[in-house]
Every structure is written in C-alpha cells, then in structure tokens.
C-alpha cells in the first residue's frame, strides 16, 4: 500500500510564498493498493492535480472516501477531471447524516449559487455509499469507519491492506479541552481506528497556546495529537491539517514541539504535499518515507 499526500492544509487552501515547502492544498490523500485499487481520502483542493493525472489513464473504478463534508474536504470535487469523463466509475463513500442522503448533501454544494454546474449533469457514473458501521473491503483493503469528534457528522478511517495499516483522522478533537490521561481508551474518540497503526495522519492544527481559544472547533493541538498517537501506540505520526495562518516557520516550530513531546521511536513529522509512504509488504519493518 502506498499513500501519497495530495493536500494537507486545513480549513482553507493557502497558496503562496508562505506555504511553498509543505503546500497549500486542502485535505486529500491518494492510496494505491498492491492490486491496483485507487482510494482517495477526501476531496480538498489537493484532488485537482490528482484528477489531472488520472484523466489520461481512465479505466479502473475510483473510490473517493470522505471523512465529512466541510468545504476544505469537498471543494476540489467539482474540479476533479474524472468526474466529468463519461468513462469514469466513481464511488463516493461518506458518513451518514440523518435522513438526507450523501448524494443530496453533496448535490447542495455542486449546484448554484455555489457551483455553476449540477452534480446531476456530471457524465461519469457516480454512485454514493453510506459508510457501513462494520468493516468492509475495497480491493485488497479492509476499511473501518467510526464517527469521531468534530462538529457535524464526521468519520475517521482505518485502512488495512497489503500488510500495512494507515489511519486517517484529519479533523479530530478527541480531548475536547481535556486530557487523554483522564480517560480509559474505550472513551477516546477514534482510539480503535488508530490502535497500533503503522501510520497515523492526525489533525494538529493548533499550537498549545492557540488551542484554548478554539476549544470545540473540532481540531487538536500538537500536544493532543502526540498524546493521542502515543496512547494508541502508533508507529509513525504524520501531523496533518495545517492551519492556513501558519507559515513554514511556524510549522517548523510545531514539528519541533511534537518531537520534543514524543517519547521513543520514530519522531513525528509534518505532512508535506507530495510525501509518499510505503506501508506493509512494500516495507515490512517500518513505513518507508520519501518525498516526490
């Protein structure tokens, strides 16, 4: 299994000279399974460039797996070229949200006045799936989804495939102003998804000093991300969902703080656009990391 970060900025796309090293595209991760299956985690602006690459090579079904429908996780969908190609078979998975279907919720966004073209007019073959409560398979991967703490219906994902485990919790506030040490693990949002994962991509939007003013906004401080990852015994923590107000120097400081808090093992790193992880059979001991 290979994971490629296509976008790791939180909340708002942030292009420009202040974000050149880690990128300004919002949440999107490309997952390539050994059997050739393509999963895409979230449809932030990072999906646009991936769509351009896929456009020239249509054929296999594409599985777009959404954590939630906040705009920074959906705003790239309208610019995903395969959506507008009739030969595309696109499966969109997302959280249940009461009586309104996933299709209807996404169609609200891909419609005037927010978007000039209707989702119904997309010529590709699109099907929508509520994420099951029980694990399910796509290609050679078993996927588990659980609701996690973030405003509105939101799920996190655990993807087990090709001998590796990747957990994706890009928007997550498991401690809600509190401390993990106060809770047994069954009371920690997202814990089972992350337990002993090879790679955990986790929200770390705020510094510890910023977080108190933003409790309940659905994101974690860097310290909480480290605390959560260590409680769940993950192998590698990839800090995700960078605040749009943080420039590269501030992100350097967040990464340094994460390393300072980390006890033992491979220290955490911040996600970078283009970063690739090879998990499982491609790297049986520890996930390999390299940047395109």
């Amino acid at each position: 299994m290979k994971a490629i970060v296509r976008g790791c900025r939180g909340s708002l796309a942030t292009p420009g000279p202040r974000t050149l090293r880690r990128g300004g595209n919002t949440s999107c991760v490309e997952i390539r399974l050994a059997d050739g299956t393509l999963l895409i985690l979230d449809a932030g602006t990072g999906i646009r460039e991936l769509g351009v690459e896929l456009a020239g090579n249509p054929g296999r079904p594409i599985h777009l797996v959404l954590t939630h429908l906040h705009l920074d996780h959906l705003e790239g969908l309208g610019f995903f070229v395969p959506l507008w190609q009739p030969e595309t078979e696109l499966h969109i998975w997302g959280p249940v949200a009461g009586p309104v279907s996933l299709r209807a919720r996404i169609a609200r966004f891909l419609a005037p006045p927010f978007f000039p073209v209707l989702l119904a007019d997309a010529p590709s073959e699109v099907s929508f799936h509520d994420v099951p409560r029980e694990p399910w398979t796509i290609g050679s991967a078993t996927i588990s989804a659980q609701p996690v703490l973030h405003p509105g219906p939101t799920v996190g994902y655990r993807i087990e495939g090709d001998g590796g485990v990747l957990t994706y919790l890009p928007d997550h506030e498991p401690y809600f102003g509190g401390q993990v040490v106060d809770l047994s693990t069954d009371w920690i949002s997202g814990f089972d998804l992350a337990f002993e994962a090879d790679v955990l991509m986790h929200d770390s939007q705020y510094t510890e000093s910023e977080y108190p003013a933003k409790v309940g906004w659905g994101h974690s401080s860097v310290a909480q991300a480290v605390q959560f990852a260590q409680a769940a015994h993950v192998d590698r923590l990839l800090l995700f969902h960078h605040d749009p107000l943080h420039d590269e120097e501030q992100l350097d400081a967040i990464e340094a703080r994460a390393c300072e808090l980390w006890a033992g093992g491979t220290p955490p790193t911040l996600a970078v656009e283009g970063l690739e992880y090879a998990l499982g059979t491609a790297s049986p001991q520890s996930p390999e990391i390299f940047v395109k």
Partner: protein
Amino acid sequence: MSKAKRQPKDLILIVAREFASRLATAVLVTDAHGNLVYFNEPAERLLGQRFAETGEIAAEDWVTMVPREELDGSPLPAERLPSRLALHERRPAHLEFALTVSGVRQEISATAFPLLSSERAVVGVVSIFWEREPREGHAA
C-alpha cells in the same frame, strides 16, 4: 481492530459524558444495554458513590445498587424507572421517587431521554436527577 482491550464507546456516549462532566446537575449515562457507564460529580453526591471507584456498573447491579421506592413508600418496580422506559420505549420519561443512600431518604425528580443515532438506533440514555422539593401529602 480486535486487539483493543475494550469495545469503543459510541461517539454519542462520549459526547454525552463530556457534556455531563461539565454540568452542576446530576447526570447519569447508560448504554444501549442499560449498563451505567458514567455518572458525574453531582450524581456521585446523590448516589453516595464515586465513579472513579465503581467504574461502569452492569444493568442488573445498577437496578439494585441504590434502594428506590415510590414517594408513598411502596416498592418501585424497575419497569417504571425513567431510564428503563427511555431505553425500551424510545421516549423521554419522568418520575418522582425516593432513594435511600447511607440510611438517608432523598426524594428525586428524574427525567430520562434516549440517545438516538442517525440510524435511529438507541445507543444509550441520559438521566437527569434533581432533588425534589418536599410537597404536602407526601412523606418528607
């Protein structure tokens, strides 16, 4: 997923606990099986028990842990308890009754409501306990 030691709580229960932990009102949270999975500090004072010491309490133990009776002193069937009604009949329920904790009788006004998931499944019940003001015609 099976390696984790305990089954994860439904997110709605996690949020309910978080909510209850910050209230000055006595709140008890039971799961979909009627097990008492959390009670906050004000509830600890009413029940004479500390959650940190009891941990989660199985449904059958919770029913008998604290003696309960009707306001007139007659036995209170478990089926009349608001948390039971909320769980089994999927509706809010209210009852005034008496608890005896450490030999002291307290009159309680209890309201319970079911926690329904987006799939309309009952994942638990929240019960709110108030100390009842004594009224004429009832034992104080």
